[in-house]
């Protein structure tokens, strides 16, 4: 919602463009290898990922502009790697605010300061804050420069039918309706996914009791990009408040409503202004401020049982809804898009069997369940669901005033990339490895090389990372790139590698297999497994 007198997309800092529906009907293609429903961050990332694989896609969105309001704001390191790989990173680096530190307060006193792991070996910071409008604008700019992507605004999918080796969508725009046929469809149409409803699918899981008001405020507040959590503050006894800095002097404030607070009353502009003023007094800000936007939110952990329905793949919020604590909604969705994009690319080009696509749902649903476990912990701390959780949470916070060990219970366990340990594509190894070496299925850790970072040197497809030039030569008959590094390099140390070690890295930078003593036949077998079976 916006203050009285301002239109729905009349922002204090962001100019929402207006996009027309497609005009030239006669020359509009009516088929594509992939149709993507939803031009939010997840849909556009999928389209850019497919384009990187050489695959043409058409993206449909009901709206005539970007999503408005305050939505996703935290982009995790792994997501920056994804944005880098799809060629969209430059404006993000320019605009987003990187951060590593969070502070938690209890009744006005600091009880915890946490630092997310960071070092010069990492190309990107652990977390960046950026409003979703900018995320969408920057992705859209990249889409505009990509001839393989056709983005159609004001285009709603009103029906879906399975036909032979594809899906026919009924597209409705201001000029009427037309059929559009695709080999594969990606449903990136958000939490209320119309496609999910058309297919009769339901999200399953838990709802949490706590309700939060989200308010964006513009103010010249002089505080670094450090996430603040205020537990049981004077201005909101028993409640929790989260404060994040965003670009353009926009501050995101999430404050918890009491159980007895009426939602309609809480969302009245005067009430929101009074609540925000009380939060600002709590953090000793007495300068001018302006209210940008507000909304109400409650935490859920909901997911589809299967992220695939025939030739339709659900990606992002259409497949899963997670609590905001721990910032996993957008980041988990970007990983979905990245995962399905390379797999569809390999299958559509004829480089991998169609069985490769069977791995999407187990890999990404596994990641969601992991997110649920962590997010549920965070949500129980932020919003204790029962008397037992409430008492222990309060005891931990109260104890933390004098005993730092208890403050660690308030650590939000921020997003870390998921390890596809149980994936059908990943080869589980034997042999001896140090405990710190990345496991099969893990995202490849970054390291400093002589020039740039390890992540800069990975190829477009699969990469065999070796420390032995002879081994690299032995896989010349496979469609994989090679990267040979010195066995005494910092990268070898990070990977726990020796001269005979090797890693097979997937196009999404996850480790498909690792060997302490690799042989060419083992590498070929692992590659075959990692593309879902023998090459067509």
């Amino acid at each position: 919602m916006r203050p009285a007198g301002r239109a729905e997309t009349e922002s204090l800092y962001f100019s929402y463009p207006h996009f027309d529906a497609p005009q030239d009907r006669a020359s509009l293609p009516v088929s594509a290898p992939v149709a993507i429903v939803g031009a939010g961050p997840i849909g556009m990332t999928a389209a850019l990922g497919l384009a990187r694989e050489g695959i043409r896609s058409v993206v449909f969105d009901t709206k005539a502009t970007f999503n408005d309001g305050s939505r996703a704001i935290c982009i995790a390191r792994q997501s920056f790697h994804i944005l880098n790989q799809i060629g969209a990173i430059a404006p993000f680096m320019e605009k987003a605010l990187g951060w590593t530190t969070g502070r938690s307060f209890y009744r006005g006193r600091q009880i915890l300061e946490f630092h997310m792991p960071d070092s010069p070996a990492e190309k990107f910071r652990p977390m960046y804050n950026l409003q979703q409008q900018y995320i969408e604008q920057f992705l859209w700019q990249a889409v505009q420069n990509e001839p393989l992507i056709d983005l159609r605004w004001q285009s709603t999918i009103t029906d879906v039918a399975d036909v032979g080796n594809g899906v026919t969508l009924t597209v409705t725009d201001p000029s009427g309706s037309y059929p559009f046929t695709a080999d594969w469809v990606l449903a990136a149409d958000g939490a209320r996914s119309p496609l999910r409803k058309i297919r009769g699918l339901r999200l399953k899981g838990e709802n949490y009791e706590g309700r939060y008001v989200i308010a964006d405020v513009q103010m010249p507040h002089d505080y670094p990009t450090i996430r603040r959590a205020l537990f049981d503050p004077d201005c909101r006894r028993g409640g929790t408040i989260l404060i994040h800095k965003q670009p353009d002097n926009i501050w995101r404030i999430d404050y918890q409503l009491r159980d007895d607070e009426d939602e309609t009353e809480a969302l009245r502009e005067e009430t929101v202004r009074a609540s925000v003023a009380a939060v600002l007094a709590e953090i000793d800000y007495d300068g001018p401020w302006d209210l940008e936007w507000w909304s109400v939110y409650s935490a859920n952990t909901l997911a589809l049982d299967d992220y695939r329905d025939g030739r339709i793949f659900f990606i992002g919020d259409s497949a899963h809804i997670v609590p905001i604590f721990g910032v996993r909604g957008l980041n988990n969705g970007l990983a979905d898009a990245h995962n399905i994009a390379w797999k569809l690319g390999w299958v559509l080009r004829g480089d991998a069997p169609v069985t490769l696509l069977d791995s999407y749902s187990p890999e990404r649903r596994g990641a969601t369940l992991d997110v649920f476990a962590n997010a549920s912990k965070s949500a129980r701390f932020m919003t204790p669901p029962t008397a037992g959780w409430q008492l222990m949470r309060d005891a931990a916070l109260n104890l933390a005033l004098d005993h730092p060990f208890a403050g660690q219970l308030a650590n939000p366990r921020q997003m870390t990339p998921y390890t596809y340990a149980d994936s059908p594509l990943v080869t589980n190894d034997e042999g001896s490895w140090s405990k710190t070496a990345p496991l099969p299925g893990a995202a490849l850790p970054d390291a400093i090389l002589e020039t740039g970072h390890l992540s800069d040197h990975l190829g477009q497809g699969f990469t065999l990372l070796t420390f032995d030039p002879e081994l690299a030569k032995s896989v010349g008959h496979l469609p994989i790139g090679t990267l040979t590094l010195p066995a005494d390099s910092p990268a070898a140390q990070v990977l726990g590698a020796t001269a005979r070690s090797a890693f097979l890295i997937r196009p999404d930078s996850h480790i498909a297999a690792r060997w302490s003593q690799a042989t060419p036949s083992q590498i070929e077998a692992a590659f075959t497994k990692s593309i879902g079976g023998p090459r067509p």
Partner: protein, 59 residues
């Protein structure tokens, strides 16, 4: 712990509880449980004891 020592703790806890408003007793005891658990530094042992303490609570 000897019978004499456990009696010392028992009395000290009773006296301490009486200096705290009754409404705050659960919070106080929960804090105490976390502090003692941290001292004991043995999660399975603490879990055994917290299960033992739940016996015979019905009156």
């Amino acid at each position: 712990m000897s019978a004499a020592n456990i009696e010392t703790v028992y009395e000290a806890l009773a006296l301490k509880l009486d200096t705290i408003p009754t409404k705050q007793h659960p919070l106080y005891l929960a804090k105490l449980a976390l502090l003692l658990a941290h001292e004991i530094d043995d999660a399975p042992k603490v879990i055994t004891q917290l299960n033992a303490a739940a016996q015979n609570l019905s009156t």
